[in-house]
């Protein structure tokens, strides 16, 4: 019993008292305003751990898509999205499915026990799940391949890496960011009877992103005492003192998708309405952040595509160059040959730059440098945004 006592995180009387007295003068222990969110950093990892392989036995995913790493202050959550082809549910033969799994590692917080999911793990999963599913954020009908026979089952894994408070919001952002960058392989029907499913490799056909109608953003409020003191985005310490918590899931249009109220303390109606307005405002700014991060990632991904082509023929560069020259020669007679030549030259530059990048990247093998590189690449990507997309 004493080992367990030693492993639980606890707060002193001093801290509890201080958090409340500081809040009296509208101060929070990390220097924020009561209604301020912590910094959000969204990264997209390229290494996806191999999760349960698909039932039909295809290795479906290019490794970098559908994974996110979200930092909310010091809270850190990773999200991974995977998909597999399964038989759809009987009552919904035309729909794919979406499920959320959470992983609370004891590394993130000594209070988390390994094995059985705790109360908070279940709550977190349910809140994120409700926000995404009940509001029909992900179009599940488009996931159907063959009615009643095959549909994509999307699985979101949320890994809590570090708990510094407000896991729900961080996990929700991680789930959205991962969903936005996830791509599933394209499927077509073929064969003699037209009922045979062909799954195209990512090299053959560009994998398809999910259809996401809107982004439901969770915003958590914490209430202290009965005087209606309220803060947004509580930290770990604040969570320990709060009388009540409320998570409002809203989207940028101001629609409320879900509400979850935990803790014993009652909250007056006027404050709840105030919270709803605040949630909608925060949802808008967070949506912007997620979208801009995803955009940067997508640009970078598109540029990497070009790189991939050039490196795949790297062994026979001279031939490839020759091909290009041939191509150039072919179009010489054309009226718009000037334009195409310029394009080709740009492409060449691109591939050179890409290969240089690749060399400089080759020595950094660790995960962190991998992430750093992604960001760095994204930065340089901006400079020739208009280049290849012609």
């Amino acid at each position: 019993m004493e080992t367990r006592l030693a492993n639980t995180w606890r707060m002193t009387v001093n801290e509890k008292k201080f958090i409340e007295t500081a809040l009296d003068s509208n101060l929070r222990i990390d220097g924020r305003n009561p209604l301020e969110f912590r910094n959000i950093t969204i990264k997209f990892g390229r290494q996806v751990p191999r999760f349960a392989s698909c039932a039909i036995g295809f290795s479906l995913l290019s490794s970098e898509d559908g994974s996110s790493d979200v930092l909310l202050g010091k809270t850190r959550v990773m999200g991974f999205v995977t998909a597999q082809l399964v038989q759809p549910y009987r009552d919904r033969p035309n729909e794919g499915s979406l499920s959320i799994y959470t992983e609370f590692s004891p590394m993130a917080d000594p209070a988390f026990e390994s094995g059985r999911p705790g109360e908070s793990a279940v709550e977190l999963g349910r809140v994120v799940d409700r926000g995404l599913r009940e509001s029909r954020a992900v179009d599940t009908e488009s996931l159907c391949v063959l009615a009643g026979r095959l549909a994509w089952a999307i699985r979101i894994d949320l890994h809590i890496i570090d708990n510094a408070g407000n896991l729900v919001d961080a996990a929700n952002i991680a789930a959205l960011a991962a969903l936005l960058t996830f791509r599933r392989p394209e499927c077509t029907l073929g064969g003699d009877d037209g009922r045979e499913v062909i799954i195209h490799k990512p090299e053959e056909r560009e994998p398809l992103p999910l259809i996401i109608h809107h982004l439901p953003i969770a915003v958590t409020f914490a209430f202290f005492g009965s005087e209606g003191k309220m803060v947004v985005d509580p930290t770990h310490n604040e969570e320990d003192v709060v009388g009540a918590r409320m998570t409002v899931t809203a989207n940028a249009n101001g629609d409320i998708c879900a509400i979850q109220k935990a803790g014993g303390e009652g909250v007056p109606q006027s404050i709840i309405l105030h919270c709803l307005r605040l949630a909608a405002m925060n949802a808008e700014s967070i949506t912007k952040k997620i979208k801009s991060a995803v955009e940067v990632y997508n640009t970078e991904r598109a540029l990497r595509k070009i790189k991939r082509h050039s490196t795949s023929v790297a062994a026979s560069v001279s031939i490839a160059d020759g091909d290009r020259r041939e191509l150039q020669n072919k179009v010489t007679g054309n009226a718009d040959d000037e334009l195409s030549r310029r394009h080709i030259e740009r492409l060449k530059l691109e591939s050179e730059e890409a290969s240089v990048n690749q060399i400089s990247n080759a020595d950094g093998g660790s995960d962190s440098s991998e992430l750093g590189r992604t960001m760095k690449g994204a930065g340089s990507a901006k400079s020739f945004l208009g280049g290849p997309s012609n």
């Binding site: 006592l5 008292k17 201080f18 929070r28």
Partner: protein, 281 residues
Amino acid sequence: MDAKPSGLTTSFVNNLVVPGDVVLDISSMANQTIKLGGGLRQDSDAISVIKAGKLRFSKPNKYWVETSQKRYVPCAEDTILGIVVDSKPDNFLIDIKSPTLAYLPVLAFEGGTRRNIPKFEDGTLLYVRVVKANTGMYPELSCTDASGKAAEFGVLKDGYMFECSTGLARMLLSSPTCPVLEALGKKLSYEIAVGLNGRVWVNADSPSTIIVVANAIMNSETLSGVQQKIMVEKLLQKIQVNRVRFHLLVPSKSRYLHYHLHRHISEFDSKTSKDAYRDSP
């Protein structure tokens, strides 16, 4: 006795060592007594490292490995901040961020007798000294110095306690006063108690000062001395601007050009710091 470290060690002292490094060969130093601190182990004649960190040497004969981590490995004569978890008839159970709880005997207070056992509610913050830290036993704490005086040990009231790495705690206690504390002390008046187990308690007149000090300290983990000073200056400037904006006048009291500092020199000998000051509880 020759106090110089043997040839083998000099290359390791103040350098990074990793588990498995043999830093001392005591067969060549037959007549010397050496004292080993945390992170070192004796395998017959070889002293090897069991923790990654910096090897430290203190004259005449002490060796230990310094690391920065979230958990604390108790070491005798460290002064630390503990949280009362439970009260037993003979002992208080104290959380000191170590793998096990520590015992604080109810009589380990100045003039402590069975009749005047102090009462602590759970969650009370105490400034204590580690008396015993043997493997396989719960560490034992005391609220007195080696001579039985209360010194500055005891309950820390009010204020705010936050956790940091053991490396940062050691930096705050290092003997030319840590630049971040110095820079803050020039503008603000505050009290601070640093525990070697990576807990820091800060108290001041106004909550805003406490928050500024606490955040400045937490930010300085990876900064050099000069960077720390710049960071503090920027922070204070920002605060000043904010205060004007919100018409919160700076009380003239908080412009004292001094600060109180609990200091502990991180060595194995118990030293009562001369310049330490705190209201006795």
